[in-house]
């Protein structure tokens, strides 16, 4: 996607500092396409909310431009930006009924009474809350409040909706259901959504693209499968999904691949993704399901079984491999592996493409 030309929302070299000493957001460049569902994913404190607040107009960027539909909005006050927003604690006005909450953005836009009524009804029906218009927010369950908050952010037909950890307060089952419903509404309305979460599975299931944040920077911006299959640095590899790491030194480069030397002097092959030249340190990343037990005579590294966890369809094997005590292998529950026992030594192997040489971090 060519961010600078046809992006609907664009962060252009944006920096933000609250105290004038530390940068909370460092050189943010991000283009979001019209109708896209983009998720900002990252650990707590990585600057996601700050980015969202700058977009909504509640914080000003210390440096750089934010553009909406091509127009810079740095000096546009929040109420003129026309951006819908769902807050983490929903921020439903407690002294108004659900219907009054939904009517509020329409009233401040001076719409007619009849139109307000039909729009409120339509929005409530959209989130299956049609019967709850007369209730106060306090009389609703967490999930219902969540639906109302979503409806209120959408009732005035904004082209862009921001959601800041909207499902954080819900229990797991409700969260999964709401993920599905929000995704469904997004597809139905074609609205652009910028979604913030620290829950990677939420990000993976809902997003068109995910921007992984850490330390005020975007570490990687990619669609969910790419993020999982092809992490570009150690942070992303570690943050998304389960990951095994092995520290090694690069021996020599070999086209797309590198030959690496492990701590015990043995060698192996890895895909050169984000690593330096010969002699430099690297950290290899390997998904647990891509590791197999070596056939006799095949290349492999020795590992010692530390723990076996039976999970029905597969067995999680925690092993000690090349100094890493938490090397996990997922073994399908087939009869030939039933003999594995704690303390046993086995030879592990993998395909070089699945072993990504990343920054030593």
């Amino acid at each position: 996607m060519n961010a600078s030309n046809d992006a609907f929302v664009e962060f252009d070299r944006v920096q933000k500092s609250y105290d004038g000493e530390t940068l909370v957001v460092k050189d943010l460049n991000l283009g979001i396409g019209k109708g896209e569902f983009l998720t900002m994913l990252g650990p707590s404190g990585s600057g996601k909310t700050t980015c969202l607040m700058m977009l909504a107009g509640f914080e000003t960027a210390t440096h750089g431009d934010i553009r909406l539909d091509g127009r810079p909005i740095n000096s546009v006050p929040p109420h003129k930006r026309g951006i819908g927003m769902v807050f983490q604690n929903y921020a439903l006005f407690p002294h108004m009924t659900v219907a009054e909450n939904l009517a509020f953005p329409l009233q401040v836009r001076k719409m007619g009474k009849d139109e307000i009524e039909t729009r409120v009804k339509r929005a409530l029906d959209m989130v299956q809350m049609g019967d709850f218009g007369g209730r106060r927010p306090a009389q609703l369950s967490g999930g219902q409040q969540q639906r109302v908050a979503v409806a209120r952010a959408l009732v005035f037909d904004p082209e862009l909706v921001l959601m800041d950890e909207p499902l954080g307060a819900l229990d797991k089952q409700l969260r999964e259901q709401m993920q599905f419903e929000i995704k469904h509404i997004h597809e139905q309305l074609g609205v652009t959504v910028v979604y913030v979460t620290h829950d990677q599975s939420e990000a993976l299931t809902m997003s068109d693209r995910i921007a992984v944040f850490n330390d005020g920077r975007i570490q990687q911006l990619a669609p969910p499968p790419d993020l999982y299959e092809r992490p570009e640095n150690s942070f992303v590899a570690q943050f998304i999904g389960e990951n095994n790491t092995l520290d090694a030194t690069i021996a020599e480069r070999d086209g797309e691949f590198v030959k690496v030397e492990f701590v015990d002097g043995s060698t192996g092959q890895a895909l050169a993704v984000n690593c330096g030249g010969p002699g430099e340190k690297t950290r290899l990343s390997l998904r647990p399901e891509r590791v197999t037990f070596a056939q006799p005579g095949e290349w492999g590294v020795a590992g010692k079984v530390k723990e076996l966890i039976y999970l029905g369809d597969h067995i999680r094997v925690r092993m000690q491999v090349l100094g890493n005590n938490d090397f996990v292998v997922k073994v399908p529950n087939a009869s030939r592996h039933a003999t594995l026992s704690v303390g046993e030594t086995a030879s592990l192997s993998w395909v070089a493409e699945d072993c990504r040489a990343l920054d030593a971090a």
């Binding site: 109420h79 927003m85 807050f87 983490q88 921020a91 509020f104 836009r109 209120r152 952010a153």
Partner: protein, 433 residues
């Protein structure tokens, strides 16, 4: 033991009486022993609150009860002149001065009263109702009564002592205030009076209390309103500042509490008087001329300014504690939905701060309506409150009955306003923190 539990349904460590009641370890029925242990807990709770309870009973409930009683109590007439009261029972003031037997009875009563020297007290009491009664009773002393010739009719001799004893008036007053309980004080507190002919308004120039009540309410409302107008922005600022600066500002808000009330009030005298600091500055800047110095003290303006200052913290604190609980995300949500700053404040923030306004307003209003010392010092004549009048009757005129009636009316007024407030705003809408 495991076997016993498995076979029988009674565990070996569980005791039961013959009737199947569960027993405690010492053999008493379990329910009774629970009741006993709860009674002990209740007693302990009671003992903990007992000192305060006794204190409140003695220092608060009892005086109020005493005040309510004093406002209607009127035993002095019947106690001092028992025979006279009885003799006057059959007398109708319309028929002219009372007959001879009344004078006889009065003579006997007065002889006893003068001996005990309590006749002047009765005179003072009746003087509240009709001026002149005090001197009339003082004149009718032991020495004069002893010179009466009991074989002659007594009426002429009383008229001889003071011609007023030959009139209808003093006797009518005695008859009107003969009952042991009277509404007289309350009527007086409402600028009315009990006359032999019934209840009527006091003469125009004597009407003072209704005006004072009205002024007290009006000034208290003004003070409450100005506290709200000055306190709301401060509380808002306080609740939105980072904790450190908020604490500093809070100390400034509470600073008035740390200085004596008298010092603060006197400081206002220094600031506000005609040759005071504020007038000097205004004259110096040229806003007012030297001849046109503002009169800001010893009138209502003085009372309003000084009391607003003194009561401001009582408005700021409840407002602050309520505003502190309103998350900033509400204002943000309102703005993201398209509301201007003002609309967001007025439609979203303000309604949620109403409980704080309610609590602050009630607190300030109730404190203001009973305030005494500040209006006394800076109120002059037209800035005083009803409480100043109550204090006057307690310590200067010694008309405690009227003071009690005024106090009771004030109490009723406050309760009435409280009820009104409950009807309009709802008392559950008040939050002190």
């Amino acid at each position: 033991m495991a076997e016993a539990t498995a076979n029988g349904d009674i565990a070996p460590d569980e005791h039961r009486s013959a009737s199947g009641q569960l027993l405690a370890a010492d053999g008493t029925p379990l329910k009774k022993s629970i009741r006993r242990s709860e009674a002990r807990a209740r007693l302990r709770a009671f003992l903990l609150v007992a000192p305060l309870l006794i204190f409140v009973l003695l220092s608060f409930i009892a005086p109020i009860a005493d005040m309510l009683f004093r406002s209607v109590e009127n035993e002095i007439v019947a106690d001092t002149l028992p025979r006279t009261v009885e003799a006057l029972d059959a007398w109708d003031p319309q028929t002219g001065p009372p007959p001879e037997p009344v004078y006889r009875a009065f003579y006997d009563d007065m002889l006893e009263a003068t001996e005990l020297k309590i006749h002047t007290r009765l005179g003072s009491r009746l003087n509240y109702e009709e001026s002149g009664m005090s001197s009339l009773f003082r004149k009718t002393n032991e020495r004069r009564l002893e010179r009466f010739d009991l074989d002659q009719p007594l009426q002429p001799q009383f008229v001889d002592l003071d011609k007023d004893w030959g009139e209808v008036e003093p006797w009518a007053v005695i008859k009107t205030f003969a009952p042991r309980y009277t509404w007289g004080y309350f009527l007086q507190a409402a600028d009315m009076r009990l006359t032999p002919g019934g209840v009527e308004m006091a003469p125009e120039f004597e009407q003072i209390y209704l005006k004072l009540f009205w002024r007290t309410i009006l000034l208290s409302c003004t003070i409450t309103l100005s506290c709200l107008l000055l306190g709301y922005p401060v509380a808002w600022l306080l609740s939105n500042l980072p904790a450190r600066s908020a604490n500093l500002l809070m100390i400034l808000v509470l600073l008035p509490f740390w200085t004596s009330l008298l010092v603060r009030t006197s400081a206002w005298k220094v600031l506000l008087q005609e040759q005071g600091v504020i007038n000097d500055i205004l004259v110096y800047i040229g806003i007012v001329s030297d001849a046109g110095r503002l009169v800001m003290i010893n009138n209502q303006t003085g009372t309003i300014i000084a009391m607003t200052h003194i009561l401001l913290p009582f408005m700021v604190l409840p407002l602050y504690s309520v505003m502190k609980t309103i998350p900033p995300s509400y204002l943000r949500a309102a703005k993201s939905l398209g509301a201007t700053d003002w609309t967001a404040f007025w439609r979203v923030y303000f309604p949620q701060s109403v409980p704080g306004i309610g609590a602050g307003a009630i607190l300030v209003f109730i404190l203001a309506i009973g305030y005494y010392i500040t209006p006394e010092l800076v109120g002059g004549t037209d800035g005083t409150f009803i409480s100043n009048r109550i204090a006057f009757h307690i310590s200067t005129s010694l008309n405690w009955g009227l003071a009690a009636a005024l106090g009771s009316l004030l109490l009723i007024l406050v309760l009435g306003l409280y009820w009104l407030y409950d009807r309009i705003v709802g008392i559950d809408n008040v939050k002190l923190g």
